[in-house]
Amino acid sequence: MDSVVLVELAAISKSYGGVRACRNVDFAVRAGEVHALLGENGAGKSTLMRVLSGDLADYEGTVTVDGQPVRFHGPADAQRAGIAMIHQELDLVPGLSVADNIFLGREPRTRLRTLDRRAMLRETRNLLRRTGIDLDPRRPVGDLRTGEQQLVSIAKALSLDAKVLIMDEPTSALSVAEVDRMFTVITELRRAGAGIVYISHRMDEIGRIADRATVLRNGSVVAQFDAREMTAEGAAEAMIGRPVQTMFAHDPAAQGATLLEVDGLVVPRHRSGRRDPAGISLTVRHGEIVGLAGLLGSGRTELLETLFGAGGSWRGSIRLDGKPIRPRSPRHAVRLGLAFVPEDRRISGLALDHSVLANTVLSIVDRIARFGVVSRRQEMSETTRMVHDLRVKLGSVRDPVSALSGGNQQKVVFGRMLLTEPSLLLLDEPTRGVDVGAKAEIYQLLGRLAEGGMGVLLASSELAELVGVCDRVIVLRGGQNVAELPTAHAGEAELLAASMGEVVPL
């Protein structure tokens, strides 16, 4: 711990309107370390790092780089000073290609000052190889799945060759295999002397990669740990200010009749031609939480979207409570008693400019309206109840959702769907970006809902979550189910192995 201090933040404070996001924070990054930044949703992690990366220009306190106090006026300034950041909400341009995105703002030029496309493509291929993803650099980013986009963001940050690399929840849409790959990259960078700030709500990752951790609560530093002395429980307790309740608390005993029955579901738009026509078959019973595991692109999202009537064409059969259904549209699916929490809340989940209130009651306005007139009282009471149940941290329910921290935004989407009182809940990475405390709450809530007879189909890339929450986990690979593991008997290792295509003996 005697390596050089690369950057230092001293007494940083930052408010948004009346909300104090950071108070007097001191923070330093040293060469060759991975410094984890922890804290519950809304603790101020992203805000602090946006100050360091030049994204927020009006703050109090000082930023010191290589011993010199600096004041950045934009991300470009910070990049010039060797500081790069991967943002929590993917900030890529959908219409531009992977290569264009990676070099955006610092395009290599030929001697004629035109774009040097060949250099861009070559470099991009190298970077993508380092990140472990095989993509055509000319593909528009908008065509990529969330996880792939996250990897492109990482590649983009790598291309900056930064001394200090800030990664704000870089793995939230990645599954184990990609995470492993990324950790290899981080290890290389660390060895080369870079300093890395690592923000994540996946506590297992922190244990594996971090050298040091700083914990923020309500905008202030409340604890610092050395990797050797840090335990997941200790960190979590520092984050939320009290001991964490048991994370997983679902009693699998109370399961009822079959709720959902999917048989041979194939989404034919698959152009790979490698899709086995057997497709996906699975069942979910009332009161049962069924997990969906798989690698990036294994077909989890697609399955959930299809069930919710939000995908393309498909064949196979779907039965709900024994009756065959063909969900035509999300509206139809909601009427059938289905609810869906999509994986990318910004693009698919929220009208960011609109209030928490408006976003929360969106799916139930028809229900809380009399003669077409929305009841303001009910609107408020339903929202308040949701905010309370899910412990959403916010100023006022009339604030725009964009003012909430990432995790709290996720809870709003989650809450909206719960208000429809579904019989089957389809969750796609529902705890993506959600802090440990809130995760525990969500798990408990899921447990309660299941005990009340709801069926849950939960796709997740966090194996611990699948193992902890679900009664059974179904492993998808290449668009079909390749294994089914009761969590009573199988753990993360088995799930991982099955996801990678190894046959798991049960």
Binding site: I240, F308, A351, G372, V374, R376, G395, S396, R398
Partner: protein, 335 residues
């Protein structure tokens, strides 16, 4: 860790200010109008009730259209066809009564249906084939204009009142009249009623939540179970319906239905909406703002005319005022 309720007060203040934000410009222009008003016998001409009602009457047609346009813009769309649809429906009104001896009620009903259907069809074309509303309604503009020309034979159809064949029912002439002691023009009344109804509707109906949600994030709205396509089609229908209403009033006001009527009204209507603070990106705005926007332009035109400002200079002043007003609206601190 219960949800904190800090900032409720802060919020209330901001909301209040924001509520009135779209009025800032109007108030400023209104005050300027008073300051610059010529006076006669010690009375300010601008403030005379006759003049104020003239202002409202003058904007009532475009105002009604702008209310419909507000809905369309709230879903992130746009409707360029309104001017031409006004022409088409004005022609239809005149033709039915004058050349086909229809009564007022059937005429009004049929013309409203024409506008509604035209709007709905545009909605269908734009949602079914996912064509940008700009394009669909640009085509709609040409089609409506062409239909109006063909329907009328290219000439305005003059309306005179009476009971003979070839004369329109006297009742229709009410649209050109004033009521309450000859003071309040009927079109102004209709405009106010429409504006109030639309405001209430947009504030409290379940449908309006769908409208805002679609403009805010269409994909999220769809995944929330909102019938996005249906709502969009209905919104275009509403705009067509209100435009038809304006077309009927236009025919009544001018005693004529001409295929060239309403030329360029689309830009004026959109301008009223946008000056009123509604975002062209959708999801944000109000009918109150639109009414303020329409009034602002009306007051500005009026005071410039009352002062005999030359029309070239009027153009310059109007341009500058629009920018300043739009700038005023941005004073609001970013959320």
């Amino acid at each position: 860790m219960t949800a904190e309720v800090v900032g409720v007060r802060r919020h209330t203040i901001r909301t209040t200010v924001f509520r009135f934000q779209s009025l800032f410009g109007l108030v400023a222009v209104f005050v300027a109008a008073i300051l610059f008003s010529p006076s006669r016998n010690g009375e300010l001409v601008f403030l005379s009730s006759g003049n104020l009602f003239n202002v409202v009457r003058a904007i009532s047609e475009k105002g009604i259209i702008a209310v419909g346009m507000t809905f369309v813009i709230l879903i992130g769309g746009i409707d360029l066809s309104v001017g031409a649809v006004l022409g088409l429906t004005a022609v239809a009104s005149a033709d039915l009564m004058v050349n086909n001896d229809w009564g007022v009620v059937p005429t009004v009903l049929l013309v409203l249906v024409v506008g509604l259907v035209f709007g709905l069809l545009q909605g269908v074309a734009s949602t079914a084939f996912r064509i940008q509303a700009f394009i669909v309604t640009l085509a709609g503009l040409q089609i409506a204009r062409g239909l109006a020309r063909i329907w009328s034979g290219g000439q305005g159809i003059a309306i005179s009142y009476g009971t003979d064949p070839g004369e329109a029912p006297v009742a229709f002439s009410l649209l050109g009249e004033r009521t309450f002691n000859g003071l309040v023009p009927i079109p102004a009344l209709i405009f106010v009623v429409i504006a109030v109804l639309a405001t209430l509707f947009l504030r409290s109906s379940a449908f309006s939540r769908h409208v805002y949600a679609i403009g805010g994030n269409e994909k999220a709205a769809r995944l929330s179970g909102i019938p996005v396509t249906k709502v969009k089609i209905i919104v275009f229908g509403i705009c067509g319906l209100l435009t038809a209403l304006a077309g009927i009033i236009h025919a009544g006001q001018l005693n004529q239905g001409s295929p060239n009527d309403g030329l360029g009204y689309e830009l004026d209507a959109i301008a009223a909406v946008v000056i009123g603070g509604t975002s062209l990106a959708g999801g944000r705005g109000s009918v109150g703002g639109t009414v303020a926007g329409a009034l602002l332009i009306g007051v500005l035109n009026n005071i410039l005319s009352l002062n005999g400002v030359n029309s070239d200079i009027q153009l310059l002043i109007t341009g500058f005022v629009i920018v300043v007003v739009a700038g005023l609206q941005r004073l609001r601190p970013a959320a």
